[in-house]
Subunit: 249 residues, 2 copies
């Protein structure tokens, strides 16, 4: 909580757009409903958006932590470095989701965030969030909720990784995306997987050959239509059964 953080440090990628008032967070479909005055406050605090081209880094593991990022459009993956330097995908973020919480613990980011397609993010200076006045304690509650949500999500992921077989992992993954798209007003049946098979494999703990094989199998079973990154769910129930129906180790 050192004072020099209050003066915003130079951001390592050029600003793209100065925000007009009351328009940045407002349009953002946050996963938790916010009171109007909280949104106003957020718009005050969040004064810029930034575009990232597909493949560019939003932050690197080791970077000093200053900002959280809310995804306005696009798709972002989070990679965690393990002991031996290899990277592993530990999360995907889409419109309305916030990333960067990994940096608070040590004031340095522990993960690397990469845009999977051209994306636009809101840049949220975290120290401003922390220093909002007492009248804005709603804001703290909101961020506690967001972090808790991430923790719960990670626990779900751990369960999936340690308890389920390949089939169930892929099914759970597809259903999860489907649900998140649905919540944002998109079709829950027609999905575009913005990430490559390699990312899916890394995230789900399986090799890309296996990812591919499972997708083919699902297609043969009439559960999905698969054309490259485009996936159409034909049998939602069938997928749910795969997840729930004890195909656990």
């Amino acid at each position: 909580m050192n004072a020099e953080k209050t003066a915003l440090p130079e951001i390592d990628i050029p600003y793209v757009k100065q925000a007009c008032s009351n328009c940045i967070m407002r349009e953002l479909c946050l996963p938790v409903a916010l009171a109007s005055n909280v949104l106003d406050k957020l718009d005050e605090l969040v004064y810029l958006r930034k575009r990232f081209k597909a493949g560019t880094h939003i932050y690197h593991a080791g970077n000093n932590f200053h900002y959280l990022y809310a995804v306005r459009s696009g798709f972002v993956k989070l990679e965690t470095l393990n002991e031996d330097g290899r990277e592993q995908v530990t999360g995907f973020y889409m419109m309305g989701e916030i990333l960067g919480f990994d940096g608070i613990a040590t004031d340095q980011h522990m993960c690397t965030a990469v845009a999977l397609e051209d994306s636009e993010l809101c840049v949220i200076p975290f120290d401003r969030i922390e220093h909002v006045g007492q009248e804005m304690e709603h804001l703290h509650h909101h961020f506690y909720m967001l972090m808790s949500r991430e923790i719960v999500r990670d626990h779900t992921m751990m369960m999936l990784l340690s308890g389920m077989q390949g089939d169930a992992r892929i099914a759970a993954f597809i259903l999860n995306l489907s649900q998140r798209f649905h919540e944002r007003g998109y079709s829950s049946y027609d999905l575009v997987l913005r990430m490559k098979r390699e990312d899916i494999g890394s995230y789900l703990g399986m090799k890309i050959e296996t990812v591919s094989r499972v997708l083919t199998k699902f297609r043969d079973q009439g559960l999905l239509e698969v054309h490259q990154k485009h996936v159409r769910i034909l049998d939602m129930n069938g997928l749910q059964k795969l997840v729930g129906h004890h195909p656990c180790k």
Copy 2:
């Protein structure tokens, strides 16, 4: 955030001990160093400790969320329920660690916390934390750090689960415990695994037979001495090599 939370709801297990002032959190070896005045404030807010017998629940999935719990002594496991009702261990907490963050997101606990041995926990009313005044914003920072730490830890766990083989998982698990004991002033070589093989297996995503076999193998290789729950590390380096040395899938 609703007002009735300010009045503390009945806690579902009887209080054991009313705290004397300035003694509850003080003695707690928190994972993040705290300024003295922050500790004072915490001692004000945290006004009770509670004992839990081995095997008893601290909270259940579905319980309304009111408190965080700091482990003063003992050992706690966290279990997450998956779709089909089976439970899976998603964390272990020892002295100085805080659990309960899973409840903030929806105001209901998403996991079940169980004492693995007789344990004493500090009960921290979360709404008091949220409503501390501006002068205590350090406290918010502290809790943001704790939550971020949990997120980072979960990411590490996800990596371990999806990227490592059985040998490496067990090695990483033992080294992790060793480190945490060491940080708390205990030997990093002589460990007592408070949980059963089944819990380890659930946590690490392997069957108890495999856990057992790996431990036996490590014993045969001279890495460990194993007597039931007591484990002595003979070759720390060897274990570290297993984790780092790409025995990944």
